[in-house]
Structures are given as C-alpha cells and as structure tokens.
Symmetry: D2
Subunit: 342 residues, 4 copies
C-alpha cells in the first residue's frame, strides 16, 4: 500500500480530530509530525506520531512530509499555505482560508506557482446526505432547479471570545451553507439578501455579531434559495437540506443515532439529532481527507479548492453588507475591495 507522509499544523479541537482520523481510519496516510503552540505531547505520542513540536517549522521543513493539514488559528491559514506551498507540500486547509479576498488569492497564487494541491475543508461535500441531493440535482431527478433550502443550526452559541474573532455568522458559520448551495446547484450565487437578528444572547450583539439569520440567494441559473441559521438549537445540531425543482422535491433530514422509537405513556420518543459537527459529519470528515490523500497519490486535482473558498467568502461579504445595509447586495459587486471588518 502506497502511504503518503503527512504533517499536521494546529492541534486544537478540529486539528486533533483530523489527526485521529488520519491515524485510525486512513491507512494510505502516515502522520509523521504534528506542530501546535499548546501541543498535548502525550496525546500525540499515544497516536504514534514521531515528531511532536510547538514549532511549525518541524512540519514545514521536514523533507519527508509530502502533505500538510492546516488547522491552525484562522488568521494564519493563508500565510501557512504560502509557506507550505513554498516547501512543495500538498495542502489540506480547514476553512476559512481567509476572511478577505486578498489572503485567499495569495494562497491560491502560491499553490498554483508551486504546483501543489490545495484542498479546503468544506466537509459537507463528502456527506452522503448532501451527495445524494447533489446527485439528484445533477442527474436530472429534480428537473430544472427552482430552489434549495438549507437549515443550519448550531446546538449552542460559541463563547463570546470566539464570536469576536470568528469573522461573524456569515464568515464563520453560514460559509458552509454558501458552499453547499454552490455545490448542490452547480450554479453561482448572484445576489444576496440577509436578514439578521440577535435573539439568543445580547452579548453576541454587543460583540457586533448576530445569532439568527434568514438569507435569500438568487442564483445565476435563476433559482431562489434560502438559508436558515441559528446559533442555538436546544435539540442538537440541525442540518437539513432540500432541493426543489420542476420534477419534485428531495428532502434530507437530520440523522439520528438509532432508528428506535419508544412508545411510552407520556409520548413517542425518538433519538435527538447529533450533538455537534464532529458527530454529525464523522464520515464526511474522514472521506474528505481520504479523497485528499487519494488525489495527492493519483496526481489528479482535488474536487474542492481555494477557488471555492473564495467564492463562498464573496457571498459571505455580500450577506454581511446586505444585513448591515438592509438591502439586497449583488455578489459580483462585492468585488475585490470587500473587507469583512471583523
């Protein structure tokens, strides 16, 4: 079996998840090194990772490492991509690549110049539910696409500290929905109207963000889509998708741990949706890394790139401006000058 030698930069919650997935589930990869400012050495040692460092250069400068997984703090993604590209390493980078167009374009340029792969962590593209809908749209089962519906609700609002540096709901959270709409429709988003509100926690408003949003998207193919976001769904991580068209409607519901229904005197109960994204997208997180490694090994282009990140960020910027100015905003008009002003 051909094995790709991988290094991981960043070992926070998501970084550790990716690392464990590589070690436990992806035989085609070997994790040789992990670097993170507050690295838990015993965790890394337990996984059998040879090189464990607080210094990113331990990964970037190791000549055996062919590919890096970047999950460092968001603000450093573009810089790290450029450094890794310069060292000739293929790159898997968690979203966001950046909150502004500039850093993303620099990352793209660096990867292109170096001739390395650059895959972005839009994990939903590897989810069986989402993929089934994409297949229905692209295969013609839906007919001509009239609309998409995405419900994306977090189980609990993030800490205020995170909110402040997150880029805000559109850049941090709905960015997945913008990408999902592009992926499912195969069409670009042309215009956005976003209505936002602070209904859950006034502190989120004080931090300059919102916690609830309804976003309407007009696509290049004419379809009208809607995204429903909330930072707090008491019942779990609510992830639902619908594709509606001239032939019918395809509906993907929340997953549940088991199918068991309990019929009791007080009511009929079923399992709650998954508690968070780690549980909900467990398979997708593994599949995206497996696909990345397979593309690296085969030398074929990855399917989700920093161009997709750039497109999604442009929509996020338009959504934010729409929300602030309370008017529909064209995505193209967001242009190069957009700043997320976080």
């Amino acid at each position: 079996m051909n094995q790709t030698t991988v290094g991981v930069i960043g070992a926070g919650r998501i970084g550790r998840m990716h690392t464990e997935n590589l070690v436990h589930h992806i035989r085609e990869a070997v994790v040789r090194a992990v670097a993170s400012p507050h690295l838990d050495h015993s965790w890394a040692e337990g996984l059998g990772i040879a090189i464990r460092s607080t210094d990113n250069s331990a990964v970037l400068e190791d000549s055996e490492i062919e590919a890096v997984v970047i999950t460092a703090s968001s603000g450093k993604h573009s810089e790290l991509i450029q450094q890794a590209a310069a060292m000739g390493k293929h790159i898997f980078c968690e979203k966001p690549v950046g909150f502004d167009e500039g850093p993303i374009e620099e990352a793209i340029a660096a990867a292109t110049a170096a001739g390395v792969q650059l895959q972005v962590g839009f994990n939903r593209r590897f989810d069986p539910e989402v993929c089934r809908l994409a297949e229905a749209v692209r295969g013609g089962e839906v007919g001509e696409l009239h609309g998409l519906r995405v419900i994306n609700r977090d189980p609990a609002a993030p800490p205020i500290d995170f909110v402040k540096r997150s880029g805000g709901m559109f850049f941090d959270f709905a960015i997945h929905d913008f990408d999902t709409v592009r992926f499912l429709s195969g069409s670009e988003i042309e215009e956005v109207f976003a209505a936002g509100a602070v209904l859950i926690d006034p502190e989120i408003g004080n931090a300059g963000d919102i916690d609830t949003a309804i976003t309407t998207l007009r696509l290049a193919n004419g379809a009208l889509c809607v995204i429903d976001n909330s930072r707090q769904a008491r019942y779990g991580y609510d992830q639902r998708f619908e594709a509606f068209g001239s032939k019918g409607n395809f509906v993907a519901d929340n997953l549940r741990a088991t199918t068991v229904e309990s019929f009791l005197e007080g009511g009929v109960f079923t399992d709650l949706p998954p508690v968070n994204f780690v549980e909900r997208y467990r398979e997708a997180f593994i599949a995206e890394l497996r696909a990345f490694v397979a593309c690296v090994q085969a030398g074929v282009p990855v399917s989700v790139t920093a161009d997709d990140a750039l497109a999604a960020v442009r929509v996020a910027a338009a959504a934010k401006r729409s929300m602030i100015e309370n008017r529909p905003v064209e995505v193209a008009a967001a242009g190069a000058a957009v700043r997320s002003d976080r």
Copy 2:
C-alpha cells in the same frame, strides 16, 4: 335524497356511537327509534329521535322502520336478529353475532329465510389503512402472499366483569384479527396455534382468561400469519398490519392525531397512537354504516356477513382450544360441536 328509516336496539357505548354517526354523518338514514334497557332519554331526544323506549318492540314492531342496528348485549344478538328478520327488517349487528356456531347459524338461517340483509360489524374492513393493504394483496402488488402480521393491543385491560362475560380474548378481541386475516388474504384459516399468557393482571387469569397471546395461522393458500395481542399497551391502541409476499412488504403503521414532531432538549416527541377504538376507527365506523345503508337502498348484498362472523368464531374456537391444549388445532376440526365455554 332517498332516506332509510332506521331503528337502534341497544344504546351502550357502541350503540350510542353508531346512533350519533347515523344522525350526524349519514344523511341517507333517519333514526326513528332507539330502544335500550337503560336508555338516556335526554341524549336520544337531543339527537331528535322520535321514538325512545326501554322496550325493543318499539323498534321491532314499528312498521316504518326498514333497518335495525343491533348493539344490545352480546348474548342477545342472535335472538334479536331472528326477531328483526321475522319482521322483515334489514340488519346491521355488532360483533359478535354469537360465541358458538349454533346461534350464528340460526341468525343466518333467519335472515336468509326472510330475505333481509345481515351485515356484521367488522369495522376494520372499512378502514383506509386495512383497505390499502387488501388492495395491495388482491391487486397483485404484494405478489404471492407469504404472510400477514397483525398487532392488536388494547390500551388498557377491560374490567374483570366484562372479561368474565366477554367470551375471552379470542372471541372478544382477536376475533377482529381473525376476520382481518381472512379479509386481507382472501383465504381461509386452516390451522391455528395460540400461545397465551397472563402477564398483566392475575385477576384476568383467575377469571379464566389470558391477557397476552401470540397466534400463528396457517392459511389455505399456504401463507403463515401471526397475530400479536395484548390487553394493555400503555401508549394507546396499537393497530398495525403487514402484508408480505413474493414482491415485497406493505406496512400500515399506527395513526397519530397530527404529524407534528417536537424537537426539544430532552428528546424528539411525536403524538401517541389513538387512545381507543372509537378514535382509531372513527372513519371506519361511519363507513361501515354508510355502506350498509347503501346496500339496503340499492338492494345489493352487503360485503361482510354473518358467514364471516361464523368463520371468525370457528377460528376463535380453534385458538382457544389450541391455547388450552398447547397444540396446533385445525379449524375445520373445531366443527359444529365447538363451545366457547365462557
């Protein structure tokens, strides 16, 4: 609109339900008289029923009455049928027509001799769920029938007094299931094995009855069916049906008051099944009387007759004997001599 003049004999719980259905939902019928030993006169007056009596002859001897609905106490059904037939009245009789073959055969003979219709209250034959399965079996969607599954559970055990005079679980309760199997399959039941137990209330056992049963039926067409009975399902009146065959499986689930699912921190809840047979088979109870009146008016034979009651009672007798003797019993062998010994 042609209206059939109807008289009701027996105004207990089921009798009142049928009467109200006739008055409120079946324009093709006029309820002229009701007779019952403990008649609630104000209830009958409120429904606009002209003749209200504690004497059955007020119904039987009224020359304007064309059809009678018999819901008196079970032991009198056959006798009342014979009296009504003698007066030339068409008859709708609640199940059971009788617990033994003799009284049922006498009822059939009387109706035949008088040339009147005699419909029996196997209400499930008019239930949309059951009818959909029947259609699937008869229309070939199921393919060759391999088996039927019936789950029939009451929400709460009846009072011990009722248990004692009910004829027992097979004659009083599972009788509907035996008829449902005949109706769905279009085939006769040839052999029965019934396993019974007293798991809910020892008093039921002391009364000579059981409260839990699994009954296996072998049909003339070869199919193997199973009936699952309980006298106490805390969550409501559990009514489920499946038809399995060479082409697939058709599954009818419990009804619910609404489709609403509530996603809350403590779980996902849906509505309980209906609380009892009145709620569950509301439509079917109306439909069976509407069909009866329509057949009377059109002069075409009713679809469910005392012959069906006779066939079901023969199965009940075999089931009871099987349970007592702990061996499979042929239905034919139950013969003319069967006695339910209640």
Copy 3:
C-alpha cells in the same frame, strides 16, 4: 337542536364545497337558499336547498336567512358584505375580502355598524396541524419564538386567466401564509423582503405575476420568518410549517392518505401529499363553518375577522412592492395608500 338558517352567494368550486359541508356535516345549519350567476340547479336541488336563484337578492332579501356565506367572485366580496350587513345578516366571507385596504375597511365598517359577525375564510386556523403549532407557541413549549417557516406550494399553476385577475401570488396565494404567520406568532409583521421569480411558466410572467417566491418577514416580536412559495409542486399540495424558538422546534409535515409504506424491489414508497386544498383542508373547511355557526348562535365574536384580512393584505402589498422594487418594505409604511395595481 338550534339551527341557523343560511344562504350561500356564489356556487363556484369553493362555494359548492362550503355548501356541501354545511348540508352534510353541520347539523346546526340549514341551507335555505343559494344564488349564483351560473347556478347548477340540479346540484342545489339534490342537496335539498329550497331557494335556488341566479339573483343574489333571493338570499339577501330573504327574511328567514340569518347568515350568509359569500364565495362570489373576489371583486364583489366587499360590496356583498355591505349589502348583507345592511340586511342584518351575519357573514362568512371567503378570502380575499378585497385586494386593497379601502374595500376591506368599508366592509368592516358596514359589519360594525350593523352589529353583525364577519368571519373570513382563513381556513388554516382550523387545521389540527397548524393549531398544534399555535398551541406550542402560545403555551410556551417553543419558548421565546425565533422564527417560523412556511412552505406553501400548489400542485399546479392556475390558468392564466385566473392569474390575471387573481391579484397575483402575494394577494391570492401567500395571503394564507401571511395570516398563518400572524396566527402562529401572535405578533404583527413589520417588514417584508420578497424575492420572486418566474421559473415555471413564462406566461405567468407575461401576465405580470411570478410563480416562485421566497419571502422573509420580520415580526414585531423580533422573530425572523420565511415563506417558501411555488405554483407547481409535481408531488401534490405541499403544506409544511415549523415553529422554532429558545426551547426547540416544532415541525408539521404534509399529510398522507394512509401510513402505508410499500417495500418493493425498486424502492420504498409512501403516499403522496394531498392533491389540493380541498383534500388537504377538508376538516378545516368544515371546522371553520362550524365555528362560525357556533359563534352566531352563541353571540360570541368570531375568532378570525376582516381585521385579519386587512392585516394580511397590508403584508401582501408590502411583499409585492418589495418584490418589484427589490428592497425590504415596512408594512406600516404601506399605509392607507397601498394599491395592489392588479
């Protein structure tokens, strides 16, 4: 039983449905007269209606008639209400009472001056699914309300002739959704953003209307709601509702004729949603008239009035303007001067 004498004005599709419901299902009412320009006399005679006329005065001037049901062509609703009120008759009027505020306000004034009841045909308020959600919102099960989602899709686009005189999607179709949002939330709609498109049939666009819309509503209580409309859902009449709040999410799904699931080699099938509003809201259409008659008899105010029609029309006007001008529009700002310009 106290019976209210009713006259019906208008015997088109909906008028006939209401009339049949009164005759077959509402014992507390007697339909004495029906008037309609193209009346089907044999249909009316078959229902046992004594007075059958092509002249509305046969209803309006009959002194025995206590209440009228108005289902004439939409443009005449307000005038008929005023005439009926002048004759002292209680009024049930199909929606719309009018497309503009003026006629509705005149109708309200006339009913108020005459001291008669005026109920409007927002049938969904009597639907068990919608009522369960309303109960969850008002009873606190949902917690603080954060949003409502309404999906309302017709199975097939109406004829172009109807489209032209219908008032357009917002006045004719989404008007039910605006009322549903007001009913479920118990709050007023303050601002509307409507995105519309012609995706189904260019002729609808040529007629000056749209066939697809996503409408975002901001309520006085802060909640953000979204309505999803289409004129053509190949699979039936899609009616879904969700209420989301600080404690959870309540989801009402489409109804189905039976629960039966068929497991076949080619897939698992369930019944389609109801084919149209008559089938879907059968119970609600009966319940709204029963409630009307009960209020008339008891002398208590009806629960859904022309004030509700007025409020909904103001939202429709704002939605239409929002769609045309591609900007959010305040409902209050729509003011007295609003005209639907159909």
Copy 4:
C-alpha cells in the same frame, strides 16, 4: 499502543470481511497470518499479511500469534477451536460453533481447559439498534417484559448447495434470532413452536429445508416472543426488532443509506434497507472484533461465548423438531441427545 497478533483461519466471504476489518479498522490488532484452502494470495499480500498459507498449521503453530479468528467451513469449527486452544491461542469463532451439542461442548471444554477466551460471532449483540433495545429492557424502560418481536428476512435465498449443508433455516439463519431473544430478554427460552413452509422455491423443500417460518417462543420469565423468518425479501435485508412490556414498546426499524425522501409525481420514495448482512451490520462486525481484542488484552471474559452458541443451538433443535412434529417442544427436553440430522 498495545497490539495483539492475530491469525485468521478461513478466507471465504466472511473470513475476508473479518480480515479486512482487522487490518483497516482495528489498530489494536495485527494480522500476521491467514490460512485458507483456496487462499487468494494477492488479496492477502495487498493487506500486508506476512504469512499466507493454504495450511492451517501456519496459523496454529506460529508462536507469535496470540489469537485466532476461525471462519473456516462450519463443520470444522469445533475441531479448529480445540486445536487452537491446545496451542494456547484465544479464539474468535464465527457461528455456528457446531450444529450439535457434542462438538460445542467439546469446544467449550477445550477452551476452558486451556484457559483461553472463546468468543462466538453473534454480531447483532454489537449492533447499536439491538443494543439500544437491550438497554431499554435491562434498564427498566420497557417495564416488565411481555414480548419480543424479531423480523429477520434475507434478501434472496442461498444456493441450494448451501441450503443442503447449512443445517437448515433454524440452525443457519434463525440461530441469530434465538440468540437475539436471549440477549434482549436476559432470559432463557423454555418452549418453542415453529411453523414452517416452503413458499419461495420448491427446491428448498426438496433439499429438506423450509424458506418461511413463524416461531413462537415462551421464555423463562413468562414473555411470549415471535420470530418471523423468510429467505427472500425482494426489498433487502429486513432486520427489525421490538421489545414490548408493561411500560411501553421499543421499535427498531430497518436502516437506510440516507434519510433522503424524494417527492415525485409518481410517489414518495425512500432508500431501501441494506442489501445484505455485510452492509447492515458493518459497524457491528467491527465492534465485535474490537471487543474481542480488548478482552484478550485486558484479560477480562468476552461477553458472548460458546455457552451462548450452545443455548441457541438447543433452541434451533427444538424449533426444528417442533416444525417437523407440528407441536410445541420444550427446549430443555431437547437435551443432550439432540441431533440436527442435516
């Protein structure tokens, strides 16, 4: 990480599946050797297995191998267990350990004498659906257990050659259901009544077997259970379980690949159940081996043993006798003399 060195004996369909699960999913194990009469060497080499042989002694006599997985042809299981035990190796053996009590008792004696672990492949005990029901029964959610329902249907009948040497439906197929009933109830099966039929393929009957069965079980705790078996469900591998008791009913439904419902003009479709046991119990097959390895490493007893295999075989023998003699058969009465006479 502590790694257990494993050898695999038998590389048919199930053997290859277990081997691949060990290699790909169970980091705590290393597969050192595989032996099988018709071994696919390139398959084994591709998995990185060092020793590849057609001779079982390559596994049994390798001193580094601590544990063996036996998936050879059923008739050799007991002998191989005895040989492996004699070499001091822990053992995971696919079901059946044997079709008669003798070989199973010899296997148990050998493992006991050698002080090695002996786990049997009743994979359902590691299935999340089944485990949730077991938890509900044992944790008291179900209340006092009144009954269990198991539906176990294969998608397609096995080849006649397999049928002839399989031991028949009860020993080969329903054996899993007998174990499931014991596992879910925590009670022993005391009496069995099995009704069998040949409805799918007369060749199965000619081979002395049946293809359809309804089996009623009376448990030591009084509960009445029913198992529904078929060799051919056109729609997939039908695996459903219910636990019913004094507090309610817990229902585990079939799994589906996705939740997606497609609403089309011709109907509403959902995914079919899994196509076979490999797909349906993918997780459980991994979990049972992971649990085996964990028990070996920790030195704690495995949770499912050859005693469970023995108990299940006694029930199978009683079921077969019951079916042949058409009478209920006590499991205890099956005794030591039982022979499956295959």
